[in-house]
Each structure stands twice: as structure tokens, then as C-alpha cells.
């Protein structure tokens, strides 16, 4: 039985573009910067509506981060945009000093995160960005799951005073969360109630977790699926309550296992509620060129992988 349905598939980056279009009309303090990737970031509507609030930086990401910090000092809410690889790893020290340590109200909004950018290969497929950003004191890290949620998150972070890393991607994925939803930073979203295993997923893996729950249901396993769109601050209350009920968990993310969502959950549970946990993520390797779905299968980041890890987690629970 299908637990969730959808009518269309869209890319999360287009959700970002739609959010920016909304902000161009409704928040005069929002400004956007882009390092020569306007089309990839879907910024056309923002630029058309408010050209004076758009800053083309050329292929110069380090400067872009500094500019954003400066614009925030002058009272604006800058969205610094590019591919996730160039907007985080390439400019880590600029973000660390000029944004995070300086406490600036800068939104680093990046597309093409993870393996699913596909054919461009590992040079562009950053799988370490969540870890890099969540280690910075005071940085909020958000990885929404579909078009509607990305749009809502894009709009919501403008209302939050402080540095934010907003991560999204290139592939079209099912649009299954409500249109015009209210996005609450740091608030996990319960998608499916279950009793045997908790699946905590973020970004593109949320839909895969839903499919996995359907597959598990056919095997007579009741999986709880929770969308952790905000990796930091982590909704530890929701995680605690779910795990206390199910007794085991799987974390799922399009990211290195080192430093990702699963890491954050494990750290919390180790201190508060030690629980068998399995990790769906990239295991200490780089990506490669290929079609997104093929890559996700090869690197074990799909519904099938979540099913297998769920069964493993449940088995460990019984041993314990």
C-alpha cells in the first residue's frame, strides 16, 4: 500500500528559486549573490523582479562570502549562492571567520549537493558539506526534501537572524510535502508512524525512506519515518521519543557517514539513550560520474539500502 503519493516531480533547486521569487516581492531586505551560476540556482525570477538586489560575483566564491558578510553588516539579508562544493568546502575559512565567528546574518544557499548532480563527477559532488557546516559554532544546517519544503525553507530562513547553510540539489524528485507549508527550523516532521524501527532521513533520502517503509510493511515490519530537514539544531526531542518507542534506528543521508546527520544522532543517543543504529550514507569514499539513480544504487543510498539496514538494526535490537 502506498503510504504517500505525489503528482509531480521537481528539483529542489527550483523550490529555492520559487522561494527567492517570493522573497523578491515580499522581503525588501533580501539580496542575492551568485558566482556565475544563475541558471543552475534558478535565480532568474529574483533578478527580474529586483535587479538592484542581485550581485553577480563572477567565479569568485571567496569574495562572494566576504561581500555577503559586508551586506549583512549594512542591514541586508544576503543569500550567497553557488554549487555546494564551491559554497562550503572551497570557502570554509571565509565562512568560518567572516560569517560564523563574526555572527553574520548570511544564508549560504547551495545547489548540486551530493551524488545526485550525476555526470559531473566527484569534483562537484560534495559529500562533506553538512559536516563542515555543522561543526561551525552557531551555524544552522538545513537540507529540505522536496520542492515545496525547499521553497518554504528558503522563505523561512530570511526570518531567522543568524548564519544558515541551506542545501539542495539538482535531480527531480517527488513533490509530496504540502504546498505553502510552514517551515519550522529545527522541527522534525513525522511522516509515518511505526513501532519496529525509526528511520531518520534528510534531503533526497526522505522519499527513499518512505518507499523503504512501504517495502518493510510488506515484510510485516512497522517503520517510523521522520524527516530531519534541520541537521543543526537537531530535534533531539523527536528523535528521543521515536527511538524510545522503536528501540532501533536507521539514519539516511546523501552525505558521508562521517560528519553527517547520523553522526549527530549517534552523538546524542550515546549520551542519552544508547540504541542500535545503522547508517545509510557514503562510507568514506568520493563519488564518480554516472546517472543519479545508478550512483545512488551503487553507493547504497536508496530505499533498498534503507530496508536492508532497517532489518539489520532490528536484528541487533533482538540480540541486545
Amino acid at each position: 500500500m502506498a503510504l504517500f503519493t505525489y503528482e509531480t516531480k521537481k528539483d529542489t533547486r527550483s523550490g529555492f528559486g520559487a522561494g527567492m521569487e517570493y522573497l523578491s516581492l515580499h522581503n525588501p531586505k533580501v539580496v542575492a549573490l551568485c558566482a556565475d551560476l544563475i541558471g543552475s540556482l534558478k535565480l532568474e525570477a529574483f533578478i527580474k523582479n529586483s535587479p538592484e538586489r542581485f550581485f553577480q560575483t563572477g567565479i569568485a566564491e571567496a569574495n562572494m562570502i566576504g561581500l555577503a558578510a559586508g551586506l549583512s553588516i549594512g542591514g541586508y539579508i544576503p543569500y550567497a549562492t553557488t554549487f555546494a562544493n564551491f559554497g562550503t568546502g572551497r570557502v570554509y575559512d571565509q565562512i568560518r571567520q567572516s560569517v560564523a565567528y563574526s555572527g553574520k546574518n548570511v544564508k549560504i544557499a547551495c545547489s548540486h549537493a551530493g551524488l545526485t548532480l550525476g555526470e559531473d563527477g566527484a569534483t562537484h559532488q560534495i559529500l562533506e558539506d553538512i559536516g563542515l557546516m555543522k561543526m561551525l559554532p552557531g551555524m544552522v544546517v538545513i537540507n529540505p526534501c522536496d520542492y515545496n519544503q525547499t521553497k518554504a525553507a528558503t522563505i523561512a530562513v530570511a526570518e531567522y537572524e543568524g548564519p544558515v547553510y541551506l542545501r539542495f540539489g539538482r535531480p527531480v524528485v517527488p513533490v509530496f510535502t504540502p504546498e505553502n507549508q510552514t517551515f519550522e527550523i529545527g522541527k522534525a516532521v513525522h511522516l509515518i508512524e511505526g513501532s519496529d524501527v525509526s528511520i531518520f532521513a534528510t534531503g533526497h533520502l526522505v522519499w527513499e525512506a518512505i518507499i523503504a517503509a512501504e517495502m518493510l510493511q510488506e515484510k510485516g515490519i512497522s517503520a517510523e519515518v521522520i524527516n530531519i530537514h534541520t541537521i543543526k539544531p537537531l530535534d533531539t526531542k523527536a528523535i528521543h521519543a521515536s527511538v524510545a518507542k522503536t528501540g532501533c534506528l536507521v539514519s539516511a543521508e546523501e552525505h558521508q557517514i562521517n560528519g553527517g546527520l547520523g553522526d549527530s544522532i549517534a552523538q546524542y543517543l550515546a549520551l542519552n539513550l544508547p540504541t542500535p543504529q545503522e547508517f545509510v550514507g557514503v562510507n568514506d569514499s568520493f563519488g564518480e560520474s554516472g546517472k543519479p539513480a545508478d550512483l545512488m544504487e551503487k553507493y547504497g543510498l536508496n530505499a533498498q539500502a534503507i530496508v536492508e539496514k532497517s532489518i539489520k538494526a532490528i536484528a541487533r535490537k533482538k540480540v541486545n
Partner: protein, 285 residues
Amino acid sequence: MQTIELQKVASQVRRDILRQVHGCQSGHPGGSLGCTDLLVELYFNSMTLKTDASGKVVFQMDGLNEDVFFLSNGHISPLLYSVLARRGYFPVAELASFRKLNTRLQGHPTPHEHLEGIRIASGSLGQGLSVAIGVAQAKKLNGDSSIVYCLMGDGEQNEGQVWEAAMYAPHHQVNNLIAFIDENGQQIDGPTEKVMNNLDLEAKYKAFGWQVLRVDGNDMASITAIIAEAKQLLNNNKPVMVIMKTEMGAGVDFMMHSHKWHGVAPNDEQLATALGQLEETLGDY
């Protein structure tokens, strides 16, 4: 303020620099002493700062409708702290806490400790010009006609981000920005011409579309004059870069003509000798 009065302030600021660095046996006196005249000139003469009815400076993070200054080479923090304190942003007595545990006067400047007058962290080099440009563009969006100033080191010109920013500002006609390079010819590993030769900075910035001026950075009257000239040049719709020749350690004979005092604190005897060369004009903290 008259040149002679500015020079008196500069003498006190140089004393403050030496005493701060001596007090914690850590910090960077050489470049701080070299750039003292510029910062004193800016904060006590050329910059229009926000003040209350009584004339006391008021710090607002957004710097709206006032001139603002960004220090990119953050290691000369004892200079910035002294100038900010002497100008009235925070108590002069706080200079005694420089680089000590729980201080707001961190080794390199930061707004993290909410020190009045500091708007951005700097110290990791090459980032300040980008920030200054961002603030300048925010001023234009706000319809604010005041000016953004920025100081970088000459060793700092090694950083790639400086040239990203250098390319950006003229392209975007950032005509409310006056930047300075402290050309003291020294960096940590030796003379800049040996470590990484900047060659002709004037030609480089001109090729990037800047208007470039030169000044003797240890001559107060010349600094005042060059800032007035730079302001006029902004009417050409381009930013201005002032290459400022300075002497590291300026004002203390045994600290000059060497990069030895880049990041070394004087001992008790050296401090006494140095202070003997600098008149106490405003009272030590």
C-alpha cells in the same frame, strides 16, 4: 583636528600599542606602529562618525550614515583597539586586558565579544576588502552617501581573495570605497620582494580598474591631504586604492628598519627605552 594635535594622539596611541603588547608579552607591534598615523587621522579627522548630542561616538553595527573602517590585516589589533578606545568607543582602561583570558580585546579583532567599534573578525588574511565592498554596496542600496575605508597589508596581497575583490569593485562601480595598502615591504619570512614579490602594485590595481594614489604613511599632513584627494576621485565612479609607504615600528628607533618586531613583544627594558621616545600626551591607561 590640526596636524599637530593628530600627532599628539598618535604619540599616545603608540605608547598604548607598546604597553598592550608588553602587558601580555604577545602581539604585533611593528605593523601597528607603522599604521598608527593613518588610523589616528581617519578616526580623529577624516571620518565622519556617529555621535550623540554631546559629541560622544555611538557604535551601531550597521554603520548607517557614518563612515566606517575595516581592518583586514587584523594582527595590528593593538593599534585599532587603542584608536577605538581613545576615540571613546570603550574605556581606555580596557586596553590592559589585551590578549588576556576573558577579554573583549582578542588577539585579532572580532565582533564575537561585542567590542564597540568592531564589525567583522579579521586575522585570517585577505578577507577584509571583500567585506568592505559588501558594506559599500549596502550603503548604496540604503541611499547612504558616506564612505567605507579599508586597510590591508602588503604581505596580504599574496592572498588570492584580494584579487577577486580587486576585480569586483571597479566592475560594480563601487565609488564609495577608499582602500589602503600598508606597504612596509616586510612580511613574516622576510622582505616582501624576497618572500613573494608584489612587483608594481600601482600598475596592478590600475589594470584592475582602480584609481591609485601614493602617500608617505608616516607623515600626518600628507595623509590628510591624500584622503581629501581620494574623496574627490570617487566622483569618477571608481574605487580608490592608496598605496601607503610606511616604516614598521615607526616612532621607536630600535624597532624600525627591520621586520624583527613584526610579532615580538618588548621586555621591560625595551619598553622603557621605547616609551622614552614617545610623549605621553593623553595619559597612559
